[in-house]
């Protein structure tokens, strides 16, 4: 199992952040990550169970979370600014949380699995 929590200081990604096709990752935690100045793509990580980015406020382009068969927790409680959002073909019991103030900037595509529970977290003051 790969531990990514050592990237605990990562605060800004000035382009796209891509995490894909990793069999050895069970959880993703970027506690300090605040901004992704591109797209955030998390796909085809067959053993990924949990994604936790508590400080992430802004994604300039789109958020795609696809084909993570075991993903049950997607926690982006501070995410307020994001382009398109697409969360598809993950675990049927996926519980995702984003900030209640989240307004997709493009407002053209918000795709999510019907069975997915979307929980709006309390907006940070």
């Amino acid at each position: 199992v790969i531990r990514l929590d050592q990237l605990r200081e990562l605060r800004v990604v000035h382009d796209t952040m891509y995490i894909g096709f990793n069999e050895g990752i069970e959880s993703l935690s970027f506690p300090a990550l605040e901004r992704v100045e591109g797209a955030l793509i998390i796909e085809h990580n067959p053993h990924l169970v949990q994604v936790d980015m508590p400080a992430l406020v802004h994604i300039s382009k789109y958020l795609h979370v696809h084909d993570n068969e075991q993903l049950t927790h997607l926690s982006l409680p501070s995410l307020c600014e994001v382009g398109d959002v697409s969360v598809l073909r993950n675990h049927a019991q996926l519980r995702a949380s984003i900030a209640s103030a989240a307004k997709p900037m493009n407002a053209t595509l918000v795709e999510m699995d019907v069975s997915m529970a979307l929980v709006f977290a309390t907006t940070r003051s």
Partner: protein, 159 residues
């Protein structure tokens, strides 16, 4: 009127040519070699600790990578399995506003490369790619623990 029949022989070995003039078929080329396995000389096989302790790392394909005793990356190029940091990394790592900044793209495909990453670097102006589809397993990202800002960030193929 026809000439003598020339019997066709069995097909020859593949030559990379289709038989049609001017058409060349590209044969598969092995583009990625894991030097940790492919190194023909076990005595010269680089060990991960070499990059952290030696004055000058092993010579691999004519390029040199290593660290000084005080953990400064003195030069880097092709490390086992691919590119780790831009050549002349000692020039690429600079101090800006008190922060250690690495200019250029970084690809980390082996444990040795991960341990060769300058641990004091806070900003990478270029992209950072971990794994790169090289099926990297049991890795330690400790040397990336101070990273705060990167360009494009990719994690792919970790097993």
């Amino acid at each position: 009127m026809s000439g003598p029949r020339i019997p066709k022989g069995p097909p020859g070995p593949p030559t990379g040519h289709t038989g049609q003039m001017g058409v060349v078929v590209r044969l598969p080329v092995q583009t990625k070699v894991d030097a940790e396995v492919a190194d023909p000389s076990p005595s010269n096989a680089p060990k991960a600790d070499d990059f952290a302790t030696s004055k000058q790392g092993p010579v691999l394909g004519g390029l040199v990578a290593g660290r000084t005793g005080n953990n400064k990356l003195v030069a880097a190029g092709i490390l086992p399995g691919g590119l780790v940091v831009p050549t002349k990394a000692s020039q690429a790592v600079t101090t800006v506003d008190g922060q250690r900044v690495l200019t250029g793209d970084v690809e980390l495909r082996t444990r040795a490369q991960l341990r060769a990453f300058p641990p004091d670097v806070v900003v990478v102006k270029g992209s950072v790619s971990i794994g790169g589809g090289a099926s990297l397993s049991n890795i330690d990202l400790l040397h990336l623990g101070n990273l705060q800002e990167v360009g494009r960030f990719t994690i792919e193929g970790l097993t």
